[in-house]
Symmetry: C2
Subunit: 284 residues, 2 copies
């Protein structure tokens, strides 16, 4: 079997323990591994891209002679773009993986997540893509239980593909005395951050504000990622980048009473993006 090509990125930066674990697991899978990761922590960067200034890209031997690795001055989404369109010179990775993030990206956190933005950027390119996160913060996080799950999920992705038009959001419970209970496909839990701003004064008596908050799960379902994680399961949510809310189209058609020229055409469910084969493209 041909050696698969796997692109690795993350949002905690190229020196984070989490990406080192991920690179090792991909290497042990027998893949050709190429890493393009941020040169500094990019947590909370969401799907930001760099358009106002140029990027730097520097080869970094941090993972040894077998792994072609680069640090990039941009965001996680930038890293995947420059990997796809510059570093790999047109070769398509068989898999894009991002992480392993230090901290959960379940439920609404997916929106703020740099880890998942790298994976979703891969999905936009039509590539199978997965973001991995461990539900433990900090550089001392214990990754000793994650390898078997990450490896298994990546093998499944290489063998069976990832659903078209999605990237998988995989979250792994923090290490505990109990072994992981299993893996659950799940939907994104309805949740939010209950936030506050901590106002302080700097030495010059000018105010500044720290964002602080506590996570609130508003969802009582047992089919959510939060339920899975709370019950010691690995959660897998396929995430789409088509944000169209079909229920929202129906609501607006019914309640807004706008003069719509051809309302019958509106609201057909969007088709998933086929991987790789788009047919003739229209330039606009």
């Amino acid at each position: 079997m041909k050696k698969p090509l796997i692109l690795v990125s993350n949002d905690d930066g190229i020196t984070a323990p989490g990406i080192r674990h991920l690179v090792e697991i991909m290497h042990q899978l027998g893949a050709e591994v190429v890493v393009v990761a941020p040169d500094s922590p990019q947590s909370g960067m969401g799907h930001a891209i760099t358009i106002g200034h140029p990027l730097r890209l520097t080869k970094n031997p941090v993972f040894g002679p077998d792994i072609e690795a680069y640090e990039c001055s941009g965001t996680p989404a930038d890293c995947v773009k420059i990997a796809k369109h510059y570093v790999l010179k047109g070769r398509n990775p068989d898999l894009v993986v991002s992480g392993i993030n230090h901290g959960s990206n379940a439920s609404v956190n997916v929106l703020y997540s740099g880890t998942m933005s790298a994976a979703i950027e891969g999905a936009i390119e039509g590539l199978p893509a997965i973001g991995f996160s461990l539900c433990e913060y900090g550089p001392q996080a214990d990754f000793s239980h994650v390898a078997e799950w990450v490896e298994r999920i990546c093998r499944h992705a290489l063998d069976h593909g990832v659903p078209a038009g999605t990237a998988l959001n995989v979250n792994i419970p923090k290490k505990s005395a109990e072994p992981i209970a299993g893996l659950r496909l799940a939907r994104q839990a309805r949740a939010k951050w209950q936030e506050e701003f901590d106002r302080r004064l700097d030495p010059y008596e000018r105010p500044y504000y720290w964002l602080i908050g506590s996570f609130v799960n508003l969802d009582h379902g047992t089919d959510t990622d939060e339920w899975a994680l709370a019950n010691n399961y690995v959660s897998v949510v396929p995430c789409q980048f088509d944000l169209t809310a079909i229920h929202g189209l129906a609501h607006l058609n019914e309640h807004w009473q706008l003069p719509l020229p051809e309302p019958a055409q509106v609201g057909a469910p969007p088709q998933p993006v086929p991987s790789g084969d788009y047919g003739p493209a229209t330039q606009s």
Copy 2:
């Protein structure tokens, strides 16, 4: 009727012409207007938030004595958070509006858009929220045709609400000789950026890279935002922040053959977030 409270933000920064137009239109609607907008351009920031350093927030009289306005050192999402949880001291805006962006946020651009991240942040808070964008870049963009559409859409949102769990992505065609053809509810077009990196050398012979690209519409549907804009319609897409791909859950259940403890429970369509009334919350 009680004066509605409208929160205004954007991603081009508090001094951009686009937000000045939006503030004026909201003021003419008879609303109490509060502005919290970035102190510098934040285009392409996606749903980034600031967690590694604190925020600054400064009152700015740029919109005159009738408008309470602040500039904030953070991202568009930060602006909405600090507005909701600090500036407004618990008052809920009747509407959150963001923009008017200088440039299209249709189709896949919604993911990179700071304008839409401010609106989606409002939606996560359970507030009716709309992002407005004009399909013309640059500080000289002609906004003379937008007021009637922005006003009309905001009146509809105040009167009829916005679908639960969504923020509206409104894009307005560039001014042309023809009047706007109307307004169309639409889905997000399947599209991507065909990207390249322009490699240059700095004066010290070190390479740097500019992201350049051309937009490619891969979608032949006539019910998309790109179709609407190309045909001189204002496009309105309700965007959800629940990224769960239902078709992806079905695909994984079928093809991944994982040992799933209770597969029958997985894949129920997610319920939209009810605005404001969540019922008892679970803290996790």
